[in-house]
């Protein structure tokens, strides 16, 4: 193992409810201070992979049945989320999931749960610095905030825990293009300024590969491709299936169905 490896998944399998096998031998490597993007279509197993890392499989009756998850040299597969979060891994869930009946500020305070008694005021300032739109909404119930504000909130809520490894599950989901751009800029800033290592799960491969250093492509519970972000961007298959461009660079619109069939064969 190289020195700057933060997390390594070795051939892990994940099974839900003892029978539904979703991950079939996934291996990936995440280096310190890098943004690693995990791409793939619906149901590929991206969220499951993140949950295997963060320990959140357990409440869903899922389990890592095979392989190892090494984090900072320790095996962490099937550890409790309480322990994993305290080692510095925080997952931002798919679909935002704010605490609706808590104000923005209270939501952020929950992010300090992994620490004992330390003052959090300074951290709040940091979050408001990254996400200025939240300042005005401090006292508003999260349930009444817009999608963009909520995505900022849930990233901020995770960031306030000072994670070493931040797992982001589809932060662009359901947001307007300009907001997505804004949020991705902030994600890159967090990575550069805080040195936070990030695993970024995305459908929006175009955006993800712009800020990621490295990328993996997942299909049907397996990694089918990996490489440096620039290389993936140039890869004709990725261009066609994930960036929505044919080899010629023209946008394909009417051939989605056909493309889907071809993808199946390609696997």
């Amino acid at each position: 193992m190289k020195d700057n490896t933060l997390l390594q998944l070795n051939n892990i399998s994940v099974v839900y409810s003892d029978v539904i096998q979703v991950l079939k031998g996934v291996s990936l490597l995440v280096e310190q201070n890098k943004i690693v993007s995990l791409l793939g279509s619906n149901g590929a197993g991206k969220t499951t992979t993140l949950k295997a890392i963060s320990g959140l499989l357990k409440p869903e009756n899922g389990k890592v049945t095979d392989g190892t998850l090494m984090y900072e040299g320790k095996e962490i597969q099937n550890s409790a989320p309480e322990d994993i979060t305290r080692m510095g891994i925080i997952q931002v869930l798919e679909g935002r999931q704010p605490f609706k009946y808590l104000t923005i500020e209270e939501n952020l305070r929950v992010g300090t749960a992994t620490r004992w008694g330390k003052p959090y005021k300074k951290d709040m300032e940091l979050i408001y610095d990254y996400f200025p739109p939240l300042v005005k909404r401090k006292k508003t119930l999260a349930g009444y905030c817009s999608g963009g504000e909520l995505q900022m909130l849930v990233i901020g809520r995770a960031l306030i825990a000072h994670p070493k490894l931040l797992l982001l599950d589809e932060p662009s989901l359901g947001l307007a293009p300009l907001v997505v751009k804004e949020i991705f800029k902030i994600i890159r800033r967090i990575n550069e300024e805080q040195g936070t290592t990030i695993i970024l799960v995305e459908q929006n491969a175009n955006m993800a590969l712009q800020i990621a250093h490295y990328g993996y492509v997942m299909e049907n519970g397996k990694i089918v491709m990996e490489g440096k972000a620039d290389e993936l961007k140039k890869n004709p298959d990725v261009r066609e299936f994930y960036l929505g461009m044919g080899a010629s660079g023209l946008t394909k619109s009417y051939k989605d169905v056909k493309a889907y069939k071809r993808r199946k064969r390609w696997l």
């Binding site: 931002v92 605490f99 808590l102 305070r109």
Partner: protein
């Protein structure tokens, strides 16, 4: 007029006790979706622990009070550890049946130890606590009950609004997965909500015991009265529990005062049925925030 005011005061003080007991019930429900059918037994336990400390151990009243509160707190904690925790993740109906079973066990134990007799506490409340206004006389226990009710209400208000643990408890009630993802110790939150619920139930038990006397059957049936209160207030609203308690308390005393004492215990359930028919989510249930 004097009679009305008298009833009003009695109703409010009883209502606070119902409200506080119901608040504990709602806390357990909100954090873990469990309906605690052993709530009345927790009330009775508080009253009997206090009785034992005061009459048998002859402790000073204040000390006995504090020890009882600490004792019921620990009791709630232990119940969660021993009985509820092993069932985390099992279908809720098992957990609810478990609380029904616990209710019988606790009741049986208390009957075994103290029997089914009616006890009364020695008269320890200083008479000067009573309030005299014209011909209206408010006995000390009602004064105490209102004071303690307000005190606990403020205390819990601050706890839930400002303390970290309080905010974590609300976050778990709001979205358990998201709480887990941020490292909130959800099991500790469950344990704490049981402990706090048992503590407030025990305290309500003590004061209800002072008002009505202490009897296993009477006190544990108050646990049933928690249902109309929380249905009225909305199962998921802590503030609603208090308001629901006040309404039921007032209804009871007014029915007892103006109609007939034998009707007073029936009225809450008539209200329960009526509310369920008209507003199944309660008068003060949380308004579901739909956007998001």
């Amino acid at each position: 007029m004097d009679f009305l005011i008298q009833l009003l005061v009695n109703g409010i003080s009883i209502g606070f006790l119902y409200g506080l007991a119901a608040m504990g019930f709602v806390m357990i429900f909100k954090s873990s979706s469990v309906l605690n059918f052993a709530h009345g037994e927790l009330l009775a336990a508080g009253a009997f622990i206090f009785l034992t400390l005061v009459t048998w151990a002859k402790l000073p009243i204040f000390l006995a009070f504090v020890i009882t509160l600490a004792g019921t707190f620990v009791l709630g904690f232990v119940i969660e550890r021993l009985f509820l925790r092993p069932l985390i993740g099992e279908p809720l109906i098992y957990v609810i049946m478990l609380t029904v079973g616990l209710a019988s066990i606790f009741k049986g134990l208390m009957l075994l130890i103290w029997g089914g007799n009616l006890y009364i506490y020695p008269d320890f409340l200083p008479a000067h606590l009573s309030i005299q206004m014209g011909s209206i006389n408010i006995p000390p226990v009602y004064v105490i009950s209102i004071v303690i009710g307000l005190l606990f209400l403020t205390l819990f208000g601050f706890f839930f609004k400002f303390s970290s643990q309080g905010i974590y408890m609300r976050s778990v009630a709001d979205n358990q997965t998201a709480s887990l993802s941020l490292g909130v110790n959800v099991r500790r939150v469950f344990a704490l909500s049981w402990a706090i619920a048992a503590l407030v139930a025990g305290m309500s038990g003590i004061i209800l015991g002072i008002i009505n006397g202490i009897n296993v059957h009477d006190l544990s049936s108050v646990g049933l009265k928690v249902f109309p209160v929380v249905i009225l207030g909305g199962l998921d609203s802590i503030g609603g529990a208090i308001v629901g308690g006040l309404i039921i308390g007032l209804l009871e005393t007014f029915t007892g005062g103006y109609l007939s004492p034998s009707l007073r215990d029936v009225v809450p359930y008539i209200v329960l049925v009526f509310i369920l028919l008209v507003r199944p989510y309660g008068l003060f249930g949380l308004v579901e925030i739909e956007r998001v």
